[in-house]
Symmetry: C2
């Protein structure tokens, strides 16, 4: 039932004959690969013939499927027939000559089920392109097998296998570092023994892997080269390149192979973009022990307390994804001390709440301070002791310990970044990426772009237009986001004002409740709208980008990420920044409250300060958005999509369970969600990092919440990658790219924001100023009195005096309000007082000192901790020396026989083993 394209073409010869052939070529070509090529050939000898299960191998059960391309078959099959009609065309003729046509018998079978459509030029074109591309692939040495008669009607699969020699060639071109036979023993010093002891202690925390225990020996690695094949251990060629490496090597070929019929000259990406192929993916290697291990030791909630098997992840998914999970692991690990300290700070607040003099004074019923009405007319006088509860609650988050904590967290961020850099370096070493240059992707798209520009001058204009559209869309998006956020704020202000102004007493009494409910609802709706808007816009971005510049230039991708990040960041933090810094700031004073647009008052915080509201907002966002919404999206949406795809393709003809069982591996994988890049994963985590660092001064429990979220997140992502996504192309990468810079940026912003939160949102600075400048006895007694200004009730302007002046039950002459203003009896009543300016200066001075000291400390941390761990730099050097020795020995070997052997050996013996017997290479030449 399957069209095997290869076997007819290259009937398998007996092994010997082939070998002779090659040697004769070598003799002519005189390049000298005799020995190596005979090794190469052995790889094709048949081994276990039974491994045909689940579609992981070709029909012959020998050749492994390294990559799969899929396409729509219905139109394809019809256009195929069209092609055969077009055989008089010169181009197709020569193409056909290049490879034999597939046996027609199974083809006809395949077309029985599908009705004949009228020929469509577009589809025909696609088919031609596919044929050209596939013949080019075969010319590049890949072996293909077509399967159009699967359980999935309408889908065609092309399975690709890369033979040993192609793998070798590509590995050499990619300068892939592979382990050599030469091993290096780790030093067995005191440090090493301590390490062994520690790893024994923490054994239950490590995943159950055999490899973990046998890491005493490291194979030196060297860029693979067929000329240096003797360096490598090629005894088991099937496992020398693991499945990840094989598929990435094939992907390299796919990217490079040209298809002149396609709009863009290069590679599979443009073919995917123009719909010639539906998808291209490597297969999940479910047959191996490796996959099971990943399932059991990684993608399971029961191992949540363990380290991740990063080596295993990298081996299966490639370096970039390995780095993501390593980063996530490091981040989660670093959150443990942060949340511990955070909890301690919070507990300190709880313990000292009864010793806090200002809140004691507020709660003191005897003091009985009469406060001025908080709004004109409708509000009345109130007693300060009402604010007792919020004042006590505020103390939990607003005490000197939070200042310490925000400094701690700024340094924590610096340490985290340094720690990650070191971990990254260690992983780079362990994964043999030292010396690998990352800029590979960078200029390709640009080049493509240039080529495109030249060859498609007419397309230039339309593309320019689309870029303009893109730019204007981006601006629109930012504009709309801001508009929505500020619109919501304005709406809230106006609702409140309208309600307050209303003369209906029923409405008036319900002011608070109504406002709060509507605010909550609006909040939720806004969040959802923004979220949907965001997702929608991101898709537009991606569409624009992928249709116009098919291969994302690295810098362009970075710009896209950066833009998206800015949008998300603004989305996430605008409401919080509003609460922290603007709410209740410009309220005016009793008797002349400030109005926006004549009738809308600015919102006011409760007496306890805006810090409490900030905390509530933060905990809602952290718990709600992060823990529930994101995870819901991540679990729910992929499952939904999978279901939809099932229903679409199945059309209700099979029982789902049974159906799935009968599917070949490449079909199962086709139904999985395609891998969409790591951007959303990183984005989510970095927004979280923002929550953890940005407002940590006002919410010390943020790291704890983040930690809890991440413990789930890791396993969730793991499950997704192992079971719900198609296997991603293994990409090499030395670092996490732009995300590191964004992290640094967030950490920098965090320092400034925390400085402002401490000095402007919290009462920390006014307290200090009172204590050291105004307090008569150096204690905090009288602080509350000091922060309250006096207001003479007779100074209420027309229409602003409260409607119910006897609300408290007595006549009020002087009321108090929270501000630093001159008393009514001064020369300049109600003017801003000297204390205000003094406190402001102190606040600003604190911001400067805090920002610069913390930044300096971060820089010092950055500078003191070396980026490359000592032991790694030592080992890298050791490796270099060992490789050097090896090569020097080789050099020596070349000339040894010529040398007077005996003399050398006696010399060696006499001098001792320290002088290496390196007979001068030149003795025979000069």
């Amino acid at each position: 039932q399957t069209a095997i394209m290869n076997n007819e073409q290259y009937p398998s010869l007996p092994l010997k004959e082939k070998q002779i052939n090659i040697i004769s070529i070598k003799a002519i070509e005189d390049i000298g690969h005799d020995l190596q090529d005979s090794i190469l050939l052995k790889s094709l000898a048949p081994e276990e013939n039974t491994k045909c299960q689940q579609g992981l191998y070709f029909q012959d059960g020998k050749r492994r499927v390294d990559y799969v391309l899929t396409y729509h078959i219905k139109k394809t099959s019809s256009s195929r027939r069209h092609t055969s009609r077009l055989r008089d065309n010169a181009f197709t003729r020569t193409l056909r000559r290049g490879r034999e046509p597939p046996p027609p018998a199974p083809k006809d079978d395949a077309e029985v089920g599908s009705p004949h459509h009228s020929m469509d030029h577009h589809d025909d074109d696609k088919c031609l392109r596919r044929e050209e591309f596939e013949s080019n692939l075969m010319e590049m040495g890949l072996e293909l097998e077509r399967d159009e008669e699967t359980k999935t009607p309408g889908m065609g699969f092309v399975k690709i296998h890369a033979p040993w020699s192609i793998l070798c060639r590509e590995a050499e071109f990619m300068k892939l570092k592979m382990p050599t036979k030469k091993v290096m023993f780790h030093s067995t010093g005191v440090m090493e023994k301590i390490n062994v002891f520690i790893s024994k202690l923490t054994d239950p925390l490590h995943p159950n892997l055999e490899e973990n225990r046998t890491q005493k020996v490291k194979h030196l690695s060297y860029p693979f080269s067929r000329e240096k094949q003797h360096l490598f251990d090629l005894s088991d060629k099937d496992s020398f390149f693991d499945s990840k490496t094989r598929s990435s090597l094939v992907f390299e070929v796919l990217k490079r192979t040209k298809c002149t019929k396609a709009k863009f000259s290069m590679g599979i990406t443009s073919l995917l973009g123009s719909g010639v192929y539906l998808a291209a993916y490597p297969l999940h290697d479910v047959s191996i022990h490796h996959y099971t291990l990943l399932y059991e030791e990684w993608a399971s909630y029961s191992v949540f307390y363990k380290y991740q098997p990063i080596g295993l992840i990298r081996k299966y998914f490639g370096e970039k994804i390995g780095l993501y999970f390593a980063w996530l692991g490091v981040y989660t690990q670093m959150l443990i001390p942060a949340s511990l300290v955070g909890v301690i700070v919070f507990l300190y607040g709880c313990v000292t709440v009864d010793d806090d003099i200002p809140s004691m004074e507020i709660c003191d019923q005897r003091k009985n301070i009469t406060m001025c009405p908080l709004c004109d007319r409708v509000c009345s006088y109130w007693n300060l002791s009402i604010a007792c509860g919020t004042a006590r609650a505020s103390h939990l988050f607003d005490n000197p310990a939070t200042v310490f904590f925000s400094i701690f967290m700024a340094l924590w961020a610096a340490f985290f970044m340094e720690h990650w850099k070191r971990r990254q370096m260690r992983l780079n070493y362990e994964w043999d990426l030292t010396g690998f240059e990352d800029e590979e992707d960078h200029p390709r798209a640009e080049y493509e772009f240039r080529v495109m520009q030249k060859s498609l001058k007419k397309d230039h204009k339309s593309q320019k237009v689309t870029l303009h559209i893109f730019a204007s869309l981006a601006i629109l998006q930012i504009g709309v986001t801001f508009a929505i956020v500020f619109g919501v704020i304005l709406y809230r202000i106006s609702t409140k004002a309208a309600l307050a102004m209303s003369s209906n007493p029923m409405t008036r009494s319900n002011v608070r409740l109504t406002v709060k409910t509507t605010a909550a609802i609006i909040n939720l709706v806004t969040d959802l709208v923004l979220l949907i808007f965001d997702v929608y816009f991101f898709h537009i971005c991606v569409m624009v980008v992928s249709s116009e510049v098919p291969k994302t230039d690295k810098s362009f991708e970075e710009r896209l990420i950066f833009k998206t990040f800015i949008l998300k960041f603004v989305n996430a933090f605008t409401p919080i920044i509003y609460i922290a810094f603007f709410r209740g700031r410009l309220g005016g004073r009793p008797g002349s409250y400030l109005y926006v647009f004549e009738s809308y008052r600015m919102e006011e915080c409760a007496h306890g300060g805006c810090l409490m509201e900030l905390c509530i907002q933060l905990s809602i966002t952290m718990l709600g958005k992060q823990l529930i919404q994101n995870n819901l999206f991540e679990i729910g949406v992929p499952k939904l999509k999978k279901l939809i795809r099932y229903i679409k393709s199945k059309r209700g003809s099979f029982q789902e369970e049974e159906y799935e069982k009968k599917l070949q591996r490449y079909e199962t994988d086709h139904f999985l969600e395609p891998f969409a890049g790591l951007t959303p994963e990183y984005m989510e985590m970095i927004i979280q990092f923002g929550f953890v660092t940005l407002f940590v001064a006002s919410f010390p429990l943020a790291p704890l919440f983040a930690l809890l979220n991440n413990i789930i997140e890791i396993r969730l992502d793991a499950k997704k990658f192992v079971a719900e996504l198609r296997r991603p192309d293994a990409a090499r990468g030395k670092d996490i790219g732009i995300w590191y810079n964004i992290l640094r940026g967030v950490a920098k912003v965090a320092v400034i924001v925390n400085a402002f939160v401490i000095s402007f949102t919290s009462d920390f600075i006014p307290r200090l100023v009172y204590q050291y400048m105004y307090s008569p006895d150096g204690s905090m007694h009288g602080f509350v009195n000091h922060t309250l200004s006096y207001f003479n009730v007779s100074h209420f302007q027309n229409g602003t005096a409260p409607l119910e002046p006897f609300h408290l039950g007595f006549h009020v002459d002087i009321c108090r309000y929270k501000d630093y203003r001159e008393p009514p009896w001064s020369l300049t009543p109600y003017e801003i007082s000297k204390e205000f300016w003094a406190v402001l200066a102190a606040r600003l001075a604190f911001v400067i000192v805090f920002q610069n000291v913390v930044m300096l400390m971060s820089d010092v941390v950055d500078w003191i901790i070396p980026d490359i761990p000592k032991d790694i730099s030592l080992q890298i050097y050791k490796e270099k020396i060992l490789m050097m020795d090896l090569f020097m020995k080789e050099e020596q070997g070349k000339t040894r026989i010529e040398d007077s052997y005996k003399e050398t050996s006696t010399l060696t013996h006499a001098v001792g083993s320290k002088i290496k017997p390196l007979p001068s290479y030149l003795k025979l030449i000069s």
Copy 2:
């Protein structure tokens, strides 16, 4: 007269015989270098026999001297004899067997002149080490020639020549990128044409080089490998590796070659450290046109307006020195716009000085403001119009344009850094350094260190002690620097106070003059003391480092540089920072002036503000220190040292001129100053960069001064490198290392310092505050009055009233002083006023805004400008593609013959030229 050590040992065989030899080895070894090695051999064929001049070649006139080692001969020759007496020793015997003893005849001649000393074990040891090292070098394939009978008695020279095969081997080990035969043509688009036009316009600014015009073609480069020799153009083997490359390859061997007799196991550096050899240097290649060009087009004051021939410099001195001069060039070039804008800002100040209302008010004789005495008792009342001159002068540097200028300079610094990064990248590309990893030096010393630790456990303690000494010395140095600076300040304060307090009227009247004179003298003395101290300490540092850890670890070196930099920086800027931020700040008020240690008053600035004094100090430092002192040191000291060395070695027996003429090249070079690294050069420039950016707000002419200095500096350094220093070892380097980080650090600090200078030292903020908060009509009229507080003369405390109250000729009731304090008639007289706090808050707010806005703008500049220029990234990619094509073609070539040739060719023709004829490599294998 010269002992040629090589010829006896390896009598030159006829070419054919050798070739046969090698091929027979190959046949046995079966590695496949047949073709290549026959090419290798050709290099040894004799060419022009006449090039023996000036000691640039061996005695045979054929082999070029690539490196020279020197040592003391007197003791050496005697110990040589000693060695021959020790021949029964087993060790020396085997050594001797390794290489034939040099012919004794010339030896005896050499020893005639030198008297026999008693044998010294130490010297003997040195000689043994030398012998072992040299025999090891010969085993590594180098060719040596000894010359002990020179014009310089007491000195022995070992000339080293690396034959072609050794050069090839080392180049391969170092992965040196060399130009291949394959060329790439630069694109000829519109941009290219514009570039050509621009370069034609700027032609007079470019140095006169032929190469400059023929840069249309670039040879692709590829890491040199003997297996890929067919890629390279080896037609002229003498010029394939230029003299710089040859010497650096030899230096690699010297570093690597072990000498077990030496204390430290590895390389020439430890031998130099322990005095076995005196010096090791490559020769100045005076015979070539290159050197002359450098002399004429670079190291000459007459070409001061031209670009430097960076390519030429790099070719002669190596990448690191090339990068230094490129950096210096970029910096100087960038100073041109900065100094232009600076001059404009200064001129703006000059033009607007007559429109400045505050200084007009001060100069207005009619206002006649009576000022309070500036000190207790001895000073008297004075008229404000006295300060007219300084007020007008201050305006030159203290106007809104300086605020703009300091923002401009912060951005300028960001641009400069970005521009440099791009230039560096471009140079990296042009110099074929892409892909080269810089970390080479890093772990070597550490490794060495470990080895040392293991082998020399007993030395461990002493070394630890020395490190302790080093650490404590560093702390001492910082402490002493601070002590001196603050001591000087205290001394100045106390002198002034003592003089002021003195009852002698003569002394009293001379107070100002005396103080100023002594201050200037003290300043000069301090500067000199600190300078000497600095130099002296740096030498101690270097001594400690070089004696203990002979091969400077890169990170250790960086730490040393950083420490030295901090010291120099503190040295240079402490007095300036004192003037800018502390002088006259804590003066107290009339009637209760502040005293330190009961009797020492704090220094006061003149009425015009401290800005004027800051300007004077800055211009003195810039002009004096930079322009004269540094250049004097750089010109004078090396010349002096050279003279001393001449006198020492010559002992007055020759006429200097004649003597010099008769010297061989390696002797001349020996008398040159050894190259001490680029650290002092960079250090000087970065301190200058500090002056240019740090206080630019107060001295807009700084960039101009720096520019003038640098124009001289470049040519001065050039002369030094070309004529006065031994030729440095050519070191590869991709970047300027830690200096870039220090530059970034200075730029960061500059932002903060400028923010403080503008807000605290200048009157910018008080003026703004007055204009927008207090001015009745929004103009500056009344500003002077507003900044002056009132003092009631009757409030003078006991003994603080002026001795001559009628100094001005009339009785004074109320006098004024510059401060924001409450008037005598307020409730709290002489307390700090509300205005003070308001101005302070404004100042602090300005600092925050300025710092963050400028930092953000710098980051945006950093982010927007890509680090790699577009055209370079495109070309790198193009190169990659071309190399890939080349290799694919090679692959194809290997299998082409086997393929059915005709079919392929028809296919190619039919499909067109776009599909490359790549017959599947695998057809024959599978």
